[in-house]
C-alpha cells in the first residue's frame, strides 16, 4: 500500500445536490509532490479537506502510512495545512505562530525555540520572529504559514491554493520556494490549484479534475504532451485543433482542406472520416521545413514576454504559433503571408 491511499472518496453536500467529489481514488508515494488541478467547483478542494479531516466523505476511505484515518479527528492526523487566506493567528508573533504546534504537543521550550529558528531560516525570514502577522506582506505571511505547518514535522503537507491571493510576481517567487523546501524535506505534498502553470512546474504528478471526477493522472510532461481526454487537452495549455479528414487510420495520415498531413500515431477510433488534428503552438514553426506545411495569413502578433504568440489564419481556422522573444527578432507583420510547418511526431488525432 502506498504512503497515502485515497480510495473511492465520494462527497455530497446535502440531499439532492450532485456529488462534489465522485469516486476519487489515488495512491501517493512517500515524498511525492501531487497537484490537484481543475476549474472552480471541480471538487479538488473538497478532496483535500477530506484528506485533512475537515470534511467527512459519504463513501470511501483514506489511509495515511497504512492507517485508516476516516474516524481520526483533524487534530490527530498530523497533517500540515496551508490555506489561501494565510490564517496566521493575529494575536501571536511570527515565532509564536510557528511554535504553536510544538506548544500544543507539549515540547520543551528550548527545543521549540531551536525548531522555530530553524523554520524561520528555512523560509528565509530569520529576523522576523518578533513581528506580528499584520506587519508582514502577503507573501511573507504565506511563508510563515508554511513554516508553521512544517514545524510539527507533519506526515503530509496539504496546500489549498496557497498562492491565489498574491501578486503575479510574488506567486512565481514563492512557487519555487515551496518546491525547494518540499524537496529539501522530502515531504509528501498535495497542492490544490486552478493554475496550470503552477501545477506543471511544481508537481511530480498532476491529477486533472473536472466535475468531481479524475480526468487524468500523470507527470506534467504526460499531461501536457499526451492528454488522454478532451478536457485535459483543452484545460492544460493552449491547443490548436484542425478539422481533418482521416485518409489512413492506421498510419494517421489525413487531409486538411486538400493539403495532406502526416501524424505519427494511428487515429483513435481506427477508422477513416472526420477527426481533429491537435498540435501545440510551440511545435509550429514559421517558415521551416517540417514534414507538414500549411500556408496562411498573420492575424495578430501578441508579445507575452519570453514568448511571442502569432495568430495565423489557415483556411477556415486560426492557429496559434509560439516563438521565443529575441532582442533582434523581427516580428512578422500583420496580414503577411507565411508558411507554417511542423513534424509528424508533434501532432495527434482526436475525435
Amino acid at each position: 500500500m502506498a504512503f497515502l491511499e485515497i480510495s473511492g472518496i465520494t462527497k455530497h453536500f446535502g440531499q439532492g445536490a450532485g456529488a462534489a467529489v465522485d469516486d476519487f481514488s489515488l495512491s501517493v508515494e512517500r515524498g511525492e509532490f501531487i497537484s490537484f488541478l481543475g476549474p472552480s467547483g471541480c471538487g479538488k478542494t473538497t478532496t483535500l479537506r477530506v484528506v485533512a479531516g475537515f470534511e467527512q466523505a459519504n463513501a470511501g476511505s483514506v489511509h495515511i502510512n497504512g492507517a485508516e484515518v476516516s474516524s481520526v479527528p483533524a487534530n490527530r492526523r498530523n497533517v500540515g495545512m496551508v490555506f489561501q487566506a494565510y490564517a496566521l493567528f493575529p494575536n501571536m508573533t511570527v515565532a509564536e505562530n510557528v511554535g504553536f504546534g510544538l506548544r500544543v504537543a507539549g515540547q520543551p521550550a528550548a527545543l521549540m525555540q531551536a525548531r522555530v529558528a530553524e523554520m524561520l531560516e528555512l523560509i528565509r525570514l530569520p529576523d522576523y520572529g518578533r513581528r506580528y502577522p499584520h506587519q508582514l506582506s502577503g507573501g511573507q505571511q504565506q511563508r510563515v504559514a508554511l513554516a508553521r505547518a512544517l514545524a510539527v514535522q507533519p506526515q503530509l503537507l496539504l496546500l489549498d491554493e496557497p498562492l491565489s491571493a498574491l501578486d503575479a510576481k510574488i506567486r512565481i517567487e514563492l512557487r519555487s520556494e515551496i518546491r525547494r523546501i518540499q524537496q529539501e524535506l522530502k515531504l509528501t505534498t498535495i497542492y490544490v490549484t486552478h493554475d496550470q502553470e503552477e501545477a506543471l512546474s511544481l508537481s511530480d504528478r498532476i491529477v486533472v479534475m473536472n466535475l468531481g471526477r479524475i480526468e487524468q493522472v500523470g507527470t506534467p510532461f504526460e499531461i501536457y504532451n499526451y492528454p488522454r481526454t478532451a478536457f485535459t487537452a483543452s484545460f492544460v495549455g493552449h491547443l490548436n485543433l484542425l478539422p481533418v479528414q482521416v485518409t489512413d487510420a492506421a498510419t494517421g495520415a489525413c487531409t486538411f482542406e486538400g493539403t495532406a498531413l502526416a501524424s505519427s500515431q494511428p487515429a483513435p477510433n481506427k477508422q477513416a472520416g472526420s477527426a481533429r488534428l491537435a498540435i501545440r503552438p510551440e511545435e509550429l514553426v514559421l517558415g521551416g521545413a517540417g514534414a507538414n506545411r500549411l500556408s496562411g495569413r498573420v492575424l495578430s502578433v501578441n508579445f507575452l514576454g519570453n514568448v511571442v504568440r502569432v495568430r495565423v489564419r489557415v483556411g477556415a481556422v486560426e492557429l496559434s504559433v509560439d516563438m521565443f522573444n529575441e532582442r533582434k527578432l523581427v516580428l512578422p507583420a500583420v496580414d503577411a503571408q507565411v508558411v507554417l510547418s511542423f513534424p509528424a511526431h508533434a501532432c495527434w488525432l482526436m475525435d
Partner: protein, 264 residues
C-alpha cells in the same frame, strides 16, 4: 464627487445630530446644578450620594450587572463560535432570535417569567436568592442582542473557521483552539459586549420593579416622581458612567493594533 472637502451637507448633519443629542443633555445638566436658587451648586449630587438607598440600589444593580456579564459570556461565546463553525446556515435564525428582546416588550417577558416561575413547581419568587436567579435570567435575555452581536461581529472579523482549522491541523483540540486562538482575538468584541450589557442591566427598570428587587432603575423612577433636581443629577451621573464605558472600549480597541488590517 464634489470637489470641496467641506461639504455643507455633512456639516449640517453633524450640527443637527449634535443639537439633537446634546441640547437635552445640556438642559438636564444645567438644571441639575440649580437646586439652590440663584446659584450653581452640586447640591443635588450631594443629596443623591447622601441617600443610603441610592448606594444600596447602585451596589445591587452593579452586582447583578457583573453576574449577568459573566453568564452572558459563558453562554454566548461558545454558542456563537459553534454556530459560526458548524451551523452557519442557522446564523440568520439565531440573529432573529436574539432580536426578540427588542421586539417583545419587556413587560411581556416579565409577565411570562412571573406567571411561570412564581407558581409550582418553581416558586422562584419565594426567596430573594431564587428571585435574583430569575432576574439574572431575564437580564441575560435582555442583553442577548448586544452580547451576541458584539461576539458575532468580532468572529466575522477574524475568519473563525479558517483559524480554527489551522489550529486543528497543528494538533490543537477544541478547548485549546477556543482559549489560545479564538478568545484572545475577541478581546475587544467581548469587552464591548460586556460593557453594554453592564450598562443595560444598571439602567433596567421594569424587570426589577415587577420582581420587587432594590435596583437602580426603579429607584430612579421613584426619585423622578417625587423630586425635581435629584433625578436630573442621577441622569447626568448615569450618562457619565456610560461615557466612561464607551471611552474604555475605544481606548482598548485603539490600543489593539493587531486588529488593524494591513495597509490600505
Amino acid at each position: 464627487m464634489t470637489k470641496s472637502r467641506f461639504n455643507p451637507w455633512t456639516w449640517l448633519w453633524v450640527t443637527v445630530a449634535t443639537l439633537y443629542f446634546f441640547v437635552p443633555l445640556w438642559g438636564t445638566f444645567d438644571f441639575s446644578l440649580r437646586m439652590k436658587r440663584g446659584a450653581i451648586t452640586f447640591l443635588a449630587y450631594q443629596k443623591v450620594f447622601a441617600d443610603p438607598k441610592f448606594l444600596q440600589s447602585f451596589r445591587y444593580s452593579a452586582t447583578m450587572g457583573v453576574i449577568t456579564v459573566i453568564v452572558s459570556i459563558m453562554l454566548f461565546v461558545p454558542t456563537t463560535y459553534w454556530i459560526h463553525l458548524k451551523l452557519p446556515r442557522l446564523r440568520p435564525v439565531v440573529e432573529l432570535l436574539t432580536l426578540l428582546p427588542f421586539i417583545i416588550p419587556v413587560i411581556v417577558l416579565v409577565f411570562g417569567l412571573i406567571r411561570t416561575f412564581s407558581r409550582p413547581p418553581f416558586r422562584m419568587t419565594q426567596t430573594e436568592f431564587t428571585t435574583d436567579i430569575l432576574i439574572t435570567a431575564g437580564y441575560v435575555i435582555l442583553s442577548m442582542p448586544f452580547m451576541f452581536r458584539a461576539v458575532d461581529v468580532g468572529m466575522r472579523a477574524i475568519d473563525v473557521r479558517t483559524l480554527t482549522e489551522a489550529a486543528q491541523s497543528l494538533g490543537a483540540g477544541w478547548l485549546r483552539v477556543l482559549l489560545s486562538v479564538i478568545l484572545p482575538n475577541l478581546r475587544v468584541a467581548i469587552l464591548s459586549g460586556s460593557l453594554i450589557t453592564f450598562a443595560t442591566v444598571v439602567g433596567e427598570l421594569i424587570l426589577a420593579d415587577f420582581l420587587v428587587r432594590p435596583a437602580l432603575g426603579p429607584y430612579m423612577v421613584v426619585v423622578g416622581g417625587g423630586k425635581a433636581y435629584e433625578p436630573a443629577a442621577l441622569g447626568i451621573l448615569s450618562f457619565g458612567l456610560t461615557w466612561i464605558c464607551l471611552g474604555i472600549i475605544q481606548l482598548v480597541s485603539r490600543g489593539d493594533v493587531r486588529l488593524q488590517p494591513i495597509g490600505r
